[in-house]
Symmetry: D4
């Protein structure tokens, strides 16, 4: 029923108000529905398929992964407490890569472009590894330096230098505590820097200090993702690197 038809039926009294309103709303929705083929969101926004595993049982994650693997060459499972169990279901058929926070089922694509990843301390490893594996999954090369806190400035400089020599398109800085590594690196490179504050720390606002500090920074080329949001930082960096 078109809007015009609807209008006529209301004017002529064929439909009472409640019926007319329901028809109107349904038509609006039906129209949108018929024409939007949501076949392939993964392609549409060009990022890997991710299963958020935190609250799912192993078998729930396995089932969804199987369905996705029918249409996609690879799938990520994030924050699942059942990495080992899920991996066991696919090891015979697929290449598996695994970090504490992330599992990739399926082979990584060939890589284009490059992203530099620097972390402040060894405790930030799980988030750094999540960044790196996500970028592998997207098909972007990574150059990774761990444990390069602001207390050792020359070690930071080495890392940045290597990144620029490899012509990276963006830099990801993974840091907890006061998170000062992110503005320091941002002041050194003519590139977008994506800060990933981690929940590493103790005491006052232990889990939020790095986020607070990165948001408040006056470094103009620094953006931020959620605390421990390695996957998100990697997707953004990957989109920058691949479109370059």
């Amino acid at each position: 029923m078109t809007f015009d038809e609807l209008y006529d039926k209301i004017a002529s009294g064929e439909l009472n108000r409640q019926e007319a309103q329901r028809h109107f709303t349904l038509d609006w929705i039906q129209t949108a529905r018929n024409y939007i083929a949501d076949v392939n969101r993964g392609s549409r926004i060009n990022i890997p398929e991710v299963i958020y595993g935190e609250y799912k049982s192993a078998s729930q994650s396995v089932e969804i992964a199987r369905a996705l693997l029918e249409r996609h060459p690879r799938v990520l499972v994030s924050r699942s407490p059942h990495n080992r169990e899920i991996a066991a279901h696919f090891e015979a058929e697929y290449v598996i890569e695994e970090t504490p926070n992330l599992l990739m089922i399926g082979e990584a694509p060939p890589s284009r472009g490059a992203v530099l990843i620097i972390s402040a301390g060894a405790a930030d490893h799980p988030v750094l590894a999540e960044c790196a594996l996500t970028l592998r999954c997207i098909g972007v090369k990574t150059i990774v330096f761990e444990d390069r806190g602001i207390a050792h400035p020359t070690r930071v400089l080495d890392a940045v230098k290597t990144g620029i020599e490899n012509d990276v398109a963006a830099v990801i800085v993974v840091a907890g505590m006061e998170g000062a590594l992110a503005p320091f690196v941002a002041s050194l490179v003519p590139l977008p820097v994506i800060g990933v504050p981690t929940s590493v720390g103790y005491g006052f606002r232990a889990k939020e200090a790095a986020l607070t500090s990165m948001l408040a920074s006056c470094a103009p080329n620094l953006t931020v993702v959620n605390i421990d949001g390695g996957l998100r930082a990697a997707v953004v960096a990957g989109l920058i690197a691949k479109n370059r």
Copy 2:
């Protein structure tokens, strides 16, 4: 004095502990100082010169701007309460562009690349205008749509469509209140999206709701800057667009 010389003098007792330590620290700093020519940070990281005007008097900002304009073709003054007064000092010599939060002194460079900027409501205008002027200053074209809240999805779709037709390299979403426009747009584009939460709203966590919501979003291609941080979003988007 090299580290070796220092070492020898300590070993031979020529320097006592306090003297040696002071020498050691001074040498470390002196060495770094001599060799780092900090002449031209603007060029090094490739972003416009910005004067943070919030706590400065008009004359302080004018003085700094004058000094910078000797070496740079244009300068930004952000968050000054004295925009009009500052502009008056330069209008005879320079082109001036002005928004509530930002003042550009000097002519904009020719533009390369393009960025899409969408705001949720009319109240977000000052931040949106700050994004747009910053991008002009960097030399990046902008495509701007205002007042495209999530309540009118088709108006959002129009904006996104126009952006993609113009081959934008990144999208900036400026939104207050619950900030839901940012994840919605992020789900529509295969591009990095930079969310700028604004301080528009009332009631519970009025100024922080959009930031909270954007950080918590599961949209993987969405990064965030500080509340009302239009300049920073624009610099990041500009770096993406120009390097593409």
Copy 3:
């Protein structure tokens, strides 16, 4: 271009990856756009047209109101600091009703159904008045009792009794400070209760105490809106009353 055409052009190599992706996204958006007639959102979700006036100048609000009044019999302007000035533009042509937080331009429709509104103290008046005027604008009768704090339980009972005698469909409780009036009323009526916490109070969490308390309540028939969110409470209560 249909998805099938797109697929063929990719398969045949006619479109490179970047072009194909842009086409794909544009097609998805174009399709949705063509078929969604967003003509009349006000009718679709059946609520009054509201102009959020907080950050708008008087002339901006006047201009938008004029445009809306061409298609709608009445318009609300909320939280404008320019009520008087806006009203002046329309007084010759329209009936005007005004409260501190809200302005209605145009005549109220005939009313169906009824809602009970109770406030805890005289300081809650602006929010209570906003509820009442919004309900008038929707076409719902209101029964209003002010200054009925929990310290005078019999005065609360009188108010509730009158409401039930008039067969109200829902109750709105407007209260600041510790907000205890809302769970107390909720325990007395077999109806949905909508709590509007107000920003009235002083000291610790002065503006948030009533919200905190209403959310934490164990009264099962109590929902909550944002602090000072009178309009929203009234719209929900109005939808309940009119659909009954």
Copy 4:
């Protein structure tokens, strides 16, 4: 003793101040007590009997449930860590229905009216199931769609369409993370929408982001309950649906 008698005894000096005050207060309370027959609160406010099981032992909950079942056909036990053990005591005599957060002892009544329940992700299941079972207990039909996040708009549209076709009286939206599903659904329906923010999420304000966002939303037909407050949302929706 009436107030008049009290007055006389004070005037004549028969009672000293402390005694008189005690009498006065006692009389006030006694009067209220004698005349308020609190026999049947469950009937008075027309909602199911609920035992808050979170801090009770299995045997405490069983004992209270038994007492209530003497006067009521069914009872809910919410948030008990001892669901299985409690159920075991009643399985021989009663029909039992169970979700992670809620247990119903006794058969559901016949249903009238209908409510639509939509959740954003699989992780929201326990809260969604709590809503659905509560509505069964009240005697209202539910139409349930799970895992309909904002990232797949057409799947949201399908859910809303089905709800409206079935003439639901209200919509419950269960969502964690940024909670953007709630304002999106609210913008599509001419009905009261009750948002249930869940504690699903990670990082910054992980447990509160959805609540913050739903409260801050400008959708006028959206109210909110406490985080994970499924039962409360269901009771309100049930009251709307049954009174319609």
Copy 5:
């Protein structure tokens, strides 16, 4: 209609469900209402009549005060921004006492008992004065020491000594900043101590530090009221002193 009558009419089908429920609820309320004489709450709980003046105009406060003064010998107006104007209406007829936060209209009663009030700094004066005037209004003697911060322990000791020599029944400690005066005084006296944290201070949690500290104290004889809640502290201390 009694509950029995109601029951019969339901059983016989004379009343349908909705009617019966309304009757039931109305009866419950009516019954309570008829028998509760709420004539004189001020006498019932034995505290002064207080007008909360913060959000009221001068004329609103004057009108309420006049009405109350017909039945009460004195009235308090708290937190009014119109103290001077209100006082002007009553000066011809009544004795007026005034502090920045509080206005008493009417003569103070004769005093019984005594309370010690100590403040930490001169900036706490308005809250201290509010305590003292409220106690005058209740009819309790006060012993007042100002500006006795923890930095001068002997001055604190003098104040406490004088209080005990005068046999005070309770101590009120008014303090901002870190509020350490309250636990220190509490450790010196065998009496109930009521801490009034003030909003005096600057920097981190400037307005809440004293409240936080007083709540966290391990002093067992210390209770707390809201920030700047002088009136409340005085009422509690007054009840203790008068009942002693």
Copy 6:
């Protein structure tokens, strides 16, 4: 050395500045130390001896208790996770009373005065029991009513009535969630009311809602202690009751 002597030695140059300052500070402290006999703090401030057991091992608590029992007839151990083990050391010699949060070693003294204790729900039991045992230890009679939430007002009235009939000197209200029981009871009695907010609840500010609400209340005769601070409320109520 007196201050005068010190002064002379400085004036004559006998002491250099650093020596003089050290002497001066030492003298100040020495003087105070010699004359303050800190023998018997328990008597001085008239409250029971309490061992804070939360972070102590069983044997640490036992050792301290033994030492105190040499001089005191009874001792309290609060928040120890080792209640059973500690009790075992003293059962042969002493009467033991025990609640989840508190252990009394030694016989309760004879009681004087009375305090009314009311809790909102069964989940508040541990805090209520802590209040009651502390008052036994002080030698004050308690009248206790559990599970009297605001949803059943007549049950609250019964409790208050019994308390007043027994001439209690103060009322303690123990409540979690929205804590509305405290202002309700405060509005019914001409007595000091001490609110003990508990950490019972879920969702938004689950552990702090009752505290927030009690602090924000406008009931003038209500003071508050820390969350779950039963012992402190009881000590204050006990001091009021015994001094009456």
Copy 7:
């Protein structure tokens, strides 16, 4: 009365319990009072006399200052909004030094030792000036560098180098926004560093970001004072420098 005498009078029944307790407490206090000569607290803890001027009128501050100047050669008035007016009262007799937050009346003493003060931006000037003037008042030399943010590392190095060459005993770092300058400087010097977070910034936790970041830092030689707490940082640094 000594403790022994008291004991005897209790044992013989000469004093009842209440009297004895009051005597006991009074004696304890009297004893302490007699022997603590609080004549000269300024000398005792060796810091300048400070009048906290924030809530005082000009005349109140003037009066206190006059009294102090009778016994002290100089006085500080901090955070007074009446600097000019206060200064006017003393200019004839005393040397005056003035910064936005602080006023010194009286001549500075000769200086010993040195402290390095570095600020991140021009907006931090008032706090930096407060540090410097306080140190002058204590008699410590200052070496001051302004506007040395982390974005220009070589300028930071210059400042640190000069400080060490002058053999400073401590470093004060004054910084707002993300406060990263403090850990950076701390990593460069073998000295105590005192961070003064300022309230300069905007957006998320604008006033608290630097404090959060400095507390969370892993730099082991960094301590922190309250936000904008320049005076306190200077006193600590001064004590270090003078005792060296």
Copy 8:
């Protein structure tokens, strides 16, 4: 390549913009790198080598410790959950000292200077022990008093007196709950006081109350470190003591 060479190549067009920018940035970094010999940060800032063990496995900490012990006589491992296991690897070769939060491998150096450490309660022991061991590792003598809360002022005075008699250079105060011990001690000594707020406490802001209170204190000679930050307080105090 020098900056001049770079300039020429740009001017002559030999390098395009992207290449030139990369060179420029690389040169800047390379220059700094070549000349900064970061051999010996431990010596440079004169503090012990610390391994942050919280997120490391035993073997990771062991490996790093071994490497450091090749160049340093002693190493600290902080906050490791594997103290015992790590100690076992080194016991044969090194002296080990251990507290709950800290492990020292290697013999303490001879001590110079002295620091006074006072804690408020037995529950603060782990943090106090961390302070003491860190100072041993730095080579500073400690004078330690535990369990000296403000409730026993004479015991505090004893501790302070002993400290001053031993000519300590600084005082560390370790306190949880309301943290009032820190400003009290600060008011007694002419020395820098470093407050270490601990996470000991319960109820409202249980873990943050002492920090809030210490920051808000008006004691001018008090600085603060992070919650439970014993190591940091000790390093600062140690630097003060050794440089004296």
